[in-house]
Symmetry: C2
Subunit: 294 residues, 2 copies
């Protein structure tokens, strides 16, 4: 399938490579030419703009930093929408796989629809490890027809691909994912802090709780790294902070009270404020121990 890929950072680059490996015909675009070089070496075509990249593809995918970047590549000058309009086509499917606010995704979808482009929001979880391995979880919002067209691309990049609902539903699902992983990290750090301060070996606590109803993937993976003092990301605290900010803004827009998420979001603010933004969120344990003078 002919696919355009926009945004070739830590996530985008391996995702585009996996599309090539699966035999797709890939055209790439990135703001900086040097980001495109490794993809060109691997067999991708390069384009001078998003508009040029989408000229004769079925699906265009963006993997950028935040909503304004998505707006720009999808709707700005020399954008995906401009490219579709220039060729008069109405069959392009645009997929954004960045994590942005659900309301922003819905708004972008509406603006693209008005310009003849079908839009899917399809954020991922699994990090750069999952991007490299092609084992991402992909949560998709948008039309059935668009999902069907983009599915071969998703299958080259991810292991679990779920079409959750209408436009915005992918981002809502990602927001739920970030609630659960963020709150689980904080709860695990709080439990370990209690154990350690009470003179109980937190490794033994983890072992005792792994088999029961307290089990979480975070207790297993993040919990181990937390106790080992391995703060290498994983997923950087500032990125999780950004995602929890999206969650709290959505809660504000929708008039929702999310107490444990709110407490956790505050702790992620503190993580970044304390200078741990580039570390993995398992730094939550350090933060709690600092707070209680350990």
């Amino acid at each position: 399938m002919k696919i355009a890929f926009i945004g070739l950072g830590i996530m985008g680059r391996p995702m585009a490579l996996n599309l090539l490996k699966a035999g797709h015909d890939v055209t790439v675009w990135a703001r900086r030419a040097e980001s495109m070089a490794p993809l060109a070496e691997a067999g991708a075509k390069t384009a001078a703009s998003p508009a040029e990249a989408v000229r004769d593809v079925k699906v265009v995918i963006s993997m950028v930093a935040d909503a304004p970047d998505v707006e720009q590549v999808m709707l700005g000058d020399n954008s995906v929408a401009a490219g579709a309009e220039a060729t008069g086509r109405r069959d392009l499917v645009a997929v954004d796989m960045s994590t942005i606010a659900p309301s922003a995704a819905k708004a972008i979808g509406e603006k693209l629809a008005a310009r003849g482009v079908d839009f899917l929001d399809a954020p991922v979880s699994g990090g750069d490890v999952g991007a490299i391995a092609g084992t991402l979880s992909i949560m998709v919002g948008g039309s059935e027809a668009g999902f069907a067209k983009a599915k071969p691309a998703f299958e080259a990049m991810g292991k679990t691909v779920v079409h959750v609902g209408a436009s915005g539903a992918g981002q809502i699902t990602k927001a739920c994912n970030q609630i659960l992983t963020g709150v689980h990290v904080m709860a695990t750090a709080e439990a370990f802090t209690l154990a350690r301060r009470a003179g109980v070996d937190p490794y033994k606590v983890r072992e005792a709780l792994m088999g029961g109803s307290a089990y979480s993937r975070v207790l297993e993976n993040h919990g181990k790294r937390m106790l080992d003092g391995n703060f290498k990301p994983g997923f950087k605290s500032w990125m999780h902070q950004k995602d929890l900010n999206i969650v709290m803004n959505s809660a504000h827009e929708l008039g929702l009270c999310l107490p444990s998420t709110a407490a956790t979001a505050q702790m992620f603010n503190a993580l970044v404020g304390a200078g741990y933004g580039e570390d993995d969120s398992v730094r939550a344990l350090t933060l709690l121990e600092n707070m209680s003078g350990n």
Copy 2:
């Protein structure tokens, strides 16, 4: 092995029955004679007091409601300690399997030690289902020697038996268990509330997240019951509220800041205040939806 069992409620009764099934010689005592009848029918001896029950046993187990009950049966009139003193023995192991404050468990252990009784705190998780099936998780604090003596009894009642550390370590581990399960229930309810209010099917969100880093046993089991509107306990909200109160008191004693646990403990107060105390804690979803006018 000769074992005395004190407290024959929803948990204690099946636990004592499993000791009998495993071939142990069991003497029971409960405040109300009618609680002892089904155990007597199953082959247990009955005693007129804790003091009488422990006369010639190696291990005595209590499974009662809260710290004052443990104090009374272990240290009060006609108690375990009184029985041990009456026979002049210094080899009795007393095991409390109730969930009480870690500091209370340590204090009871010290008082029993002064009267020649070795004390273990050995709270459980797994609920009445685990008690009946003999698959409880048992988290034990206390001496190596005491643990070794009581181990055959633990193995008749539980599947996972971990000797976590010194006196009080079992209750600390249980407190960590209640942090994780409580906070996970709240985070799951918050994620589902966000999804539902945003018009996204929470069943699909759960399905999309089950395979990834957001997975928890709570998302799998409680999450399903939550969405099905199945509020049958399980574990009653008022009991989890009691346990989170123990956690927050321990945090206060130790000078610890546990933000996500604190927010969750407040929500459990609200659950009980709203009249859901006898329901399972998956009522958290109802509570959040009531709060946001759904």
